[in-house]
């Protein structure tokens, strides 16, 4: 479903990803772990198409199409969701308005009809409830004044509303307490565990993987995948650290 080949990405003049290969078939959840500075977030933003993240070589096929042929908003409309490590605040724009306009823009890009106001509210309320986020929070400006945990829950509410084919979740578990971690983990399973969907979880820690069991774990070091294994690899890392596992 997502096939990354020989991906090289530079930020400014600095090469960060140096020949990364990775394939996530439909129906699977893969985790990427790695030390600080390995290139985990760079991978997420290169997939998203963030300005300033220059793909200098390699290719990414997403659901059979060339990802880099699409503008960022087209990637979203084609079913790619990026969960942000630091969800962005947008003062003056309510979460409801933001998400309704975003979802309808995706639908129009796909040639579908807009969702009516009532249909959208019902969808949004349902997703907020499922994530344990008070529905009233959706009336507030996008991520403004949200706690760290609320921001991450809100990212999952957004994912539930967009119902993507593939999610790249960049440290969605960072800054979460146990309850929020569990809610976010359950959200990922509920929204994304399906035969025709896939997930790439980027994380520092094993603890989210207690709730979202990955099919594969990849270790990213210095811009390349250096080791791939099953869920047990994450446990080994947690106990022994990167240096030991890599040795």
């Amino acid at each position: 479903m997502l096939k990354i080949e020989n991906l090289h990405v530079a930020v400014g003049d600095k090469p960060i990803l140096k020949g990364l290969d990775l394939e996530v078939p439909a129906g699977e959840v893969h985790a990427i772990m790695g030390p600080n500075g390995a290139g985990k977030s760079t991978l997420a933003h290169a997939l998203g198409g963030r300005p300033g993240y220059d793909v200098t070589d390699g290719s990414v096929a997403f659901a059979g199409e060339d990802l880099f042929d699409m503008e960022p908003h087209e990637r979203a409309a084609n079913g790619l969701f990026l969960g942000f490590q630091y969800p962005v605040e947008i003062p003056g724009v309510s979460m409801l308005q933001f998400l309704r306009e975003s979802l309808n823009a995706q639908r129009r890009t796909r040639g579908e009809e807009d969702l009516s106001g009532a249909e959208f509210i019902k969808l949004a309320r349902g997703q907020a409830e499922a994530l344990g986020l008070p529905a009233d929070m959706l009336k507030r400006p996008v991520n403004v004044g949200f706690s760290g945990g609320e921001k991450k829950r809100a990212e999952m509410v957004q994912m539930g509303i967009m119902d993507p084919k593939f999610a790249v979740l960049d440290e969605t578990d960072s800054g979460l307490d146990i309850d929020a971690l569990k809610a976010v983990g359950e959200g990922i399973n509920r929204i994304m565990r399906a035969q025709n969907k896939g997930v790439l979880l980027i994380t520092h820690y094993q603890r989210l993987l207690n709730y979202v069991k990955p099919d594969k774990v990849h270790i990213l070091v210095a811009g390349r995948i250096v080791k791939t294994g099953g869920p047990e690899l994450a446990l080994e890392l947690e106990e022994e650290g990167y240096a030991e596992v890599m040795a």
């Binding site: 998203g48 908003h73 979203a76 003062p91 003056g92 306009e101 975003s102 823009a105 957004q158």
Partner: protein, 245 residues
């Protein structure tokens, strides 16, 4: 009518003098607005659609009077809003206004707020969005008289430039002769935040829609009290959308 004001006159420094000369002889004197003690008034100033539009008012708020003034300044060529406001004891003046313009428009908001007696409040929020080679200015003087203790005043001035050729001027000024007052002013000029645009794109918004939405957020807070479907909000939204297309 008197001669055109000199460009050295601070209150006219950023005016479009050619446009001003065309309408100067026909310009009405400022409208007078007097709000009686403890009365509460709301006014909404929407643009007329004329390419040159100058609106001026001399306003007096008697003891305990309140005025909320909402204004959109967006004439296609030259728009000017000019206020001279006098606040008596305990009066409250709130001004929420926007300059929105593209092309080669010149838009300016010029205010003088005089706190002549104690315990009055004034608050001014001005948002300016400019494209093309437009110029948008705010010059606002708050004068607090010696007897006007316990005055509070705020000037919150922000501008957003969409194109390199656009210019914003912001000049909040305080002249305070009382010693027990709280007067704040701030002015910023910026551009659309590329990280916000990227976040919106990642949720599916094409660039022009994302820009329009962010600009709406930038300006929209001004008129929250009137609701999102108020004519002034709707008109501002349409103009912002037109500027990002």
């Amino acid at each position: 009518m008197t001669a055109l004001p000199s460009p050295k006159d601070e209150m006219w420094r950023y005016a479009d003098r050619t446009a001003l000369a065309e309408v100067w002889d026909a310009l009405s004197p400022p409208e007078m607005l007097q709000i009686a003690a403890h009365n509460e008034v709301q006014q909404i100033w929407q643009p007329s659609g004329e390419e040159i539009e100058i609106r001026r008012a001399t306003i007096t708020l008697e003891k305990g009077a309140r005025l909320s003034l909402y204004a959109l300044n967006s004439a296609s060529r030259y728009g000017r809003i000019e206020l001279d406001v006098k606040l008596h004891e305990g009066a409250d003046f709130a001004f929420d206004a926007a300059n929105i313009g593209g092309g080669s428009a010149t838009l300016e908001i010029v205010t003088t707020v005089r706190h002549v007696e104690p315990a009055a409040n004034s608050r001014q929020s001005v948002r300016t969005v400019l494209g093309g080679t437009a110029t948008g200015s705010y010059a606002g003087q708050v004068a607090v008289a010696r007897d006007a203790q316990h005055t509070t005043s705020e000037q919150d001035i922000k501008a957003m430039l969409l194109d390199r050729g656009a210019t914003a001027n912001a000049k909040p000024e305080l002249e305070i002769y009382a010693d027990d007052v709280a007067c704040a002013h701030g002015a910023t000029v910026g551009e659309l935040d590329p990280v916000q645009l990227y976040y919106a794109a990642m949720r599916g918004l094409p660039p022009e829609e994302a820009k329009a939405l962010l600009l709406e957020g930038f300006v929209g807070g001004l008129w929250d009290a009137l609701g999102p479907d108020s004519p002034i909000s709707v008109e501002a939204r349409e103009q912002l959308r037109a500027m990002t297309r």
